[in-house]
Amino acid sequence: MGTHQLGGVLSLLRQGLTLGVQFGTHSVEALLWVAQTVEEGVYVPHSLTRTVEGIAFTLDNPLLRVGAFTSLRLRIDGTDVAGEFVRLRRGPGTPWRTAASIGADSSYALAPGDRTEFDVVGAFGHGTEALTVRLELRSPAIPPLVWFEFTETPSEAPSAP
């Protein structure tokens, strides 16, 4: 653990204790329920896998906000991935579309609970190195960007039987 991380943990501890003292332990607990649900409710844990052509991962919900999104940008380790190399679909048996096809006239709609599978073509990282995946979605109704980021070591996709 580096000094920066230690500082963050101590700050978190201090804030947690402050919350508990001022507002009661119920509050700390309830805030944790929400935080855990949000943290675990979107990205399907360990779904980041290496595929023959690149990587894949799955989301189980929209990122904090629902809506008809008119742009989707994917960055891996800080580098943009061109939209034509990012495919997404609702789940098995549903059609794929590319991130490049998402626009003002062909938005990508997400309602609560909607699942999205991503399949990304390209060479990302090396072997067992962790990747940082960042998604940015833009809604025309509420302009600010909604983003989501996780860092994980991709697992190898199970080989076909």
Binding site: G24, T37, R65, P112, P144, F150
Partner: protein
């Protein structure tokens, strides 16, 4: 499990509320309501309890023999009844009457089906009740949990998601349970759950009604066990909650003012609609919280900025107790130290509060409203001496503002809170999220940093009001606040006037004025910063058709390069902005224009069945990305009727009432009855010649009508001269 619906919704949404729960439905029979949200259809139907969305759409499927049906498919008619909503259905020889009501004691919704047959042999009717559990506070709008725990017990089925829970009870035991549409024997389940179902069988004989009562209730799981006996009582006597709600609503309504505008019946109807709609937002969801929900369906939590706007109207409606408890709720969550993970700075008031208690900070303006609200509450209720606790809270609010203030100008800095939260939480989680919202004022989806004009006006009002509430203090705090307010007023008057546009700048960024025409600037007019001639000029500028439409006022001029008719705060029409325009017009003497704005709002209430949309597209009168009911859209309308159209200012501490009506010259009469002023009630009857005042007492009420003053003894009637309309 549920056959598809066969009919499109035609009427306005149906919203049934208790102070702890709500049912949202489209009026065809089931608890479903597909509504456009952020550009896509989302079904917001279902049950809400303790500010937690308990279920997704809750549907009842019908089966008899080989036939399948549903309530929407068999729908005949529907009507409200006191405290609830009733629908009538006919299907396969069955006559079905459904009653739906929200329940306060056990936060949930009860549905009762009364089924009968006109003739023929007794037949079994199978009813299958199903829904997707949600179990997450509505403040997290975009996420539905997928993993749940389900437990069956003698009387109920309990579904849990972390600390949130719901209970399903019925007067008839289900024959069969379903998880994800597969039969389930019961017991304990933990895992992914997209739908839970309950099948009930009812023998229905001619001339005898069979009854099925279903209760879905919940919120915080820890509170469910405490309401077991209440839940049993609801299932045994499902009519009782609606009757109790109706009685409480009636009592509340009778305690509020009666407003009559014979020359403007649309405004009178608007008042009735707005008052009734505001009542639906009353909430006391548990954990000793009191307030009003921001709106429905997706803002059904206590948003403290929205609450401040609503409480001003609640005070005018005379519900001092509710306002007092609501302010107390908010002040309880004032941050006493920095809490970066929740976006809180010392002295800051929360943005949102929900049972748990769950709360977040991180706005630039919420805190500033509360000194004004406290002063208003004291003034109307007649409380002379603020409590020490509230005074200390006000001192902390002002200290919070001072920490964000530029000494050279007195301007308060708005924005930056969301970035701070993001930075604070960056290293803490495996998965990180954010909304790039650089600013967090009332128009929080656009960037109005660093010194939005309406925030400066609010800061100035806050400083002056706090100084008045504190009185003379030994530490010189009140004097310092007054000095800062004077300094800030000078800055607003000298720096914000945009001469070439005949308007006011929207903000300053890095010392550069933001040349954007927004309605927010009208708050400076309402606050009286400018002489009448200049104030009218600004109001007339805002009335031009780039900002004002026939359905309300845009958030941004359609001539601005940023304008987008679908953008929440960069083009859409917001009813609160229309109310600001009405307020500023009436304050500056543009009476006809002000009344036109109020009539525009009232017409929207009429068209929306008494509800009040949050916002509309900027290019056509179509709600877009809009809650169907928002407190913002009704409360400022109500407040403007009292404060600007009637021109009332109450100070029950000194027994004074100022009445300077701003009625159009064509009006011949108007009246208010049952207006609370401290412990008494005042009635006003206006004609162009005079204002007749009836006062219940206690004590003498001094009424200033603008052209004369009169002292009205308790239980007596007096006339006072007013300024005749021009």
């Amino acid at each position: 499990m549920s056959p598809p619906s066969s009919r499109a919704a035609t009427g306005p949404p149906v919203l049934l509320t208790s102070v702890a729960s709500a049912a949202v439905l489209d009026g065809r029979g089931d608890l479903e309501l597909t509504q456009e949200m952020r550009g896509t259809p989302v079904d917001w139907g279902g049950v809400f309890g303790q500010c937690v969305r308990l279920t997704g759409p809750w549907r009842l499927a019908l089966r008899a023999g080989d036939s399948d049906g549903s309530l929407p498919m068999s729908f005949l008619s529907a009507e409200p009844f006191p405290g609830g909503w009733r629908s009538h259905h006919r299907w396969n020889g069955f006559e079905i009457t459904q009653e739906v009501a929200a329940v306060p004691e056990v936060p949930g919704v009860v549905r009762t089906l009364r089924c009968s047959r006109a003739d023929g042999p007794p037949l079994p009717l199978t009813v299958t009740s199903s829904f997707a559990p949600f179990l997450l506070p509505v403040l997290v709008e975009g996420i539905r949990p997928h993993n749940f725990r389900v437990d069956t017990a003698d009387e109920e089925v309990r579904v849990r998601q972390r600390g949130f829970g719901l209970s399903v009870r019925s007067n008839v035991a289900p024959n069969e349970l379903f998880l994800n549409q597969a039969s389930w024997i019961g017991g304990h389940f933990r895992g992914r759950l997209d739908e839970i179902g309950f099948e009930y069988s009812m023998p229905v004989a001619p001339a005898a009604s069979s009854e099925l009562t279903l209760l879905v209730a919940g919120g915080l799981d820890r509170t469910l066990d405490a309401s077991l006996s209440a839940a049993r009582a609801v299932v045994a006597h499902p009519d009782v909650p609606a009757a109790a709600l109706a009685a409480a609503d009636r009592a509340w309504l009778e305690s509020t003012p009666i407003v009559r505008f014979p020359d403007a019946p649309e405004l009178e109807r608007g008042y009735s609609h707005a008052r009734a709609a505001l009542r639906r937002l009353y909430t006391s969801p548990g954990d000793d919280l009191t307030g009003l929900l921001a709106g429905f369906p997706w803002y059904s939590a206590i948003w403290c900025r929205d609450l401040a706007w609503m409480l001003a109207a609640v005070v005018w409606l005379g519900d001092f107790d509710w306002a007092d408890r609501s302010v107390d709720t908010v002040l309880r969550y004032q941050s006493r130290s920095a809490l970066p993970i929740l976006g809180g700075e010392t002295g800051e008031l929360p943005m949102q509060i929900s049972p748990g208690p769950i709360f977040f900070y991180g706005t630039s303006d919420t805190t500033l409203y509360y000194p004004l609200l406290i002063e208003r509450l004291y003034r109307h209720s007649g409380v002379r001496t603020p409590t020490d606790g509230w005074i200390q809270a006000i001192r902390r609010m002002i200290a919070w503002g001072e920490a964000r203030t530029e000494p050279a100008t007195g301007l308060l800095r708005n924005g930056g809170e969301a970035e701070a939260i993001s930075t604070a939480t960056q290293s803490l989680a495996h998965v990180r999220y954010g909304i790039d919202s650089p600013d967090t004022t009332i128009w929080d989806s656009t960037d109005r940093r660093d010194h939005a004009i309406d925030v400066q006006v609010l800061w100035w009002q806050s400083l002056g009001t706090a100084a008045a509430l504190l009185g003379e203090t030994r530490d010189g705090a009140a004097a310092r606040m007054r000095d800062l307010a004077d300094h800030l007023a000078g800055t607003i008057r000298t720096r914000y006037v945009w001469n070439s546009e005949g308007y006011l700048y929207d903000s300053f960024r890095g010392g550069v004025p933001a040349e954007r025409v927004r309605p927010n600037a009208l708050r400076a007019v309402s606050a009286g910063f400018f002489p009448p001639e200049l104030a009218r000029k600004f109001v007339q500028r805002a009335a031009k058709d780039d900002l004002t439409t026939p359905w309300g006022v845009r958030t941004l001029s359609n001539q601005d390069p940023l304008y987008d008719p679908a953008a929440y705060h960069d083009g859409q029409v917001w009813t609160i902005a229309t109310a600001w325009a009405a307020d500023a017009a009436l304050a500056s003497g543009e009476v006809e224009l002000g009344v036109d704005y109020l009539a525009t709002i009232a017409a929207r209430f009429d068209r929306e069945g008494g509800w009040a949309s949050e916002c509309y597209r900027g290019d056509r009168a179509e709600p877009f990305d809009s809650c169907f009911l928002l407190g913002f859209s009704i409360a400022p309308f109500l407040t403007t009727l009292f404060e600007r159209l009637w021109g009332l200012h109450i100070d029950a501490r000194t027994g004074h009432l100022l009445a300077r009506p701003a009625f159009p010259a064509s009006w011949r009469s108007a009246s208010i009855e049952n207006l609370r002023c401290g412990a008494g009630r005042v009635a006003l009857e206006w004609s162009p010649e005079r204002l007749r005042v009836r006062w219940s007492g206690p004590g003498t009420l001094t009424v200033d009508g603008g052209a004369g003053t009169v002292s009205v003894a308790p239980g007596s009637v007096s006339d006072v001269a007013t300024v005749a309309p021009e």
